[in-house]
């Protein structure tokens, strides 16, 4: 019954999709961006492949210096544990098998390393967002991974090629938003509330 309904919805959507695709620009309003504009604006990074990561490189060793010189330490504490801003280093816990128990600590909870890169690139440092170079973001990412024992070599060079390959403790250990959901459906099947 449930599957039949899903199937019908899928068919209906397919039909809608076909109709939508048959249409070209209708109003002719808006202009095409230049490729430079897209490159400048597009800071979204595919978390799995790191596809849009810009070329660059950095080590944890360099990141440790940047952590002080760029003011990170002023808010997060000298080693990311004792500032006013969110903690950046995992806590010792009794159940290390479940990385979620380490808390909402970006460089350890993020299931993929490009997520950390993206976060720093977008949102840091507070009040001077967007001022870090790609090299600096790679170095800071490496430092945070080093502080959390994700990488153990502070001279390891992280770049656009190997960052997506870093094995995060939470790799694939997260709940995707429901891929079965379509508009008009309840938020969870077989849930009365």
């Amino acid at each position: 019954m449930r599957f039949l309904r899903l199937k019908l919805i899928a068919i209906a959507l397919l039909l809608v999709g076909i109709t939508a695709q048959a249409q070209g620009p209708k109003y002719g309003i808006g202009r095409a961006p230049t490729s430079e504009e897209v490159r400048a604006w597009d800071i979204a990074i595919n978390p799995f492949t790191g596809e849009e990561l810009p070329a660059g490189a950095g080590t944890a060793d360099q990141g440790a210096e940047l952590f002080l010189s760029k003011g990170c330490a002023g808010c997060h504490g000298t080693v990311g544990t004792d500032g006013l801003a969110p903690r950046l280093v995992k806590r010792e816990i009794a159940t290390p098998d479940d990385p979620w128990q380490w808390g909402r600590i970006l460089p350890i909870r993020a299931p993929y390393a490009p997520v950390i890169w993206d976060y720093i690139n977008r949102g840091m440092p507070l009040g001077a967002e967007g001022t870090l170079t790609p090299d600096e973001v790679y170095a800071l990412t490496a430092y945070l991974l080093f502080l959390n024992d994700v990488i153990d070599d502070d001279l390891m060079v992280l770049n656009q090629e190997n960052l997506p390959e870093i094995e995060m403790p939470n790799k694939d250990n997260w709940a995707p938003l429901p891929d079965w959901w379509e508009p008009g459906m309840p938020r969870l099947l077989d849930y009365p509330y």
Binding site: Y27, G30, P33, P47, L84, N173, P176, E182, P183, R187
Partner: protein
Amino acid sequence: MASKKPTRREFIKTSATLASGVAVGAASKSASGQLEGPESFTLGSDEMVAYGERSQFVNSVRIAHGGRPSPDQFGLDFHIATPLQDQMGIIAPSSLHYVGTTRGSFTPEIDPEKHRLMIHGMVDNPLVFTMEELKRLPSVTRMHFIECAGNRANSRHVTVQETHGMTSNALWTGVLLSTLLEEAGVQDGAKWIVAEGVEEVKGASSIPLSKAMEDCIVCYGMNGEPVRPQQGFPLRLMVPGFEGILNVKWLRRIKLTDEFYMTYNDYGHLRQDDDDAALSMQIGPKSVITYPSGGQQLEGPGFYEVRGLAWSGGGRVSRVEVTTDGGETWFDADIRGEAQPMAHTAFSFNWTWDGEPCELQSRCIDELGSIQPTREQAQQFWNPEPGQRARLKGQDNSIQPWRIDGDGSVHNAIS
């Protein structure tokens, strides 16, 4: 211009005349002569021409949410709850609309003439729009609520502003996102949009393309005026019925992708459990009685119109029920006006209080047939073992109980 302003002497004269009119009472020709007069008069001034103000006797305000300061000492937290207990009807005044920010109490100042919206990624024709261009396109005005995932009542809360103040309802005006996406031509295989703001952190959220094509609105208007800066001026993405964080403010860019991008806002919204994740996207059926509600005082036994708001991310509210005996007996409440999809819906219930202690609750049933649970029902669903207290999964849509004591005082009855 200054010459048109009344002099102080004229003002005193006018006031005196009016005051004496009240004093003469029945002898006055004024229709209001027999009533106690206003406290004072404000003569129209140039300042009052341009933008109106509310009465000095109306002082309803927003408060910091969650018992934490907003803004906090670090500027990270800015979660502001709306005074639902004072709201008349279903539209939140823009100045009192709740606020939740992705990070920080920083509200960007954006010149709308310089603002642009880019649509790119898996589309045939990437497009950049100015605000004026967006306003040329076919528009819609729709009523929708937004609710923060943190709108979670607990036993320490006193008023409905504290228990439920992180949701507001407004009239949103703009272009359907589907209009823009069709203009750009969505490519096969696109499944998500990544919507991004222009604020300092470039906060971004991933939203299913099916939702984007269904009813999302790129809004430039709110309650008859441009969207307020705290709500995303000049452009905000409305994602009807989805959790607040997905309604991206200061919208500058929409990228179509084939995968969930787990970007800035998504990371913070990440869940470990599949059911938890599903229940943290679309908001469930929910309602709350705003009158009488916590902290209020009934004058004594007699008639009261019990009033409240009901809403659901699943569509229209189809029914609201009210109990005055703590859930033993449920009555249908009156739905006021026509329920709109993903919008606050007003309900009322005519009630005569006999002066005995009692407990009021309301529950919402939406058009999908989903029903608002008690806290116990939701907990039992996830953990049927007796005696164990399971955390509610996803966004909290449980029933709010208000206890009325014999002296007419109203209290939060969450235990």
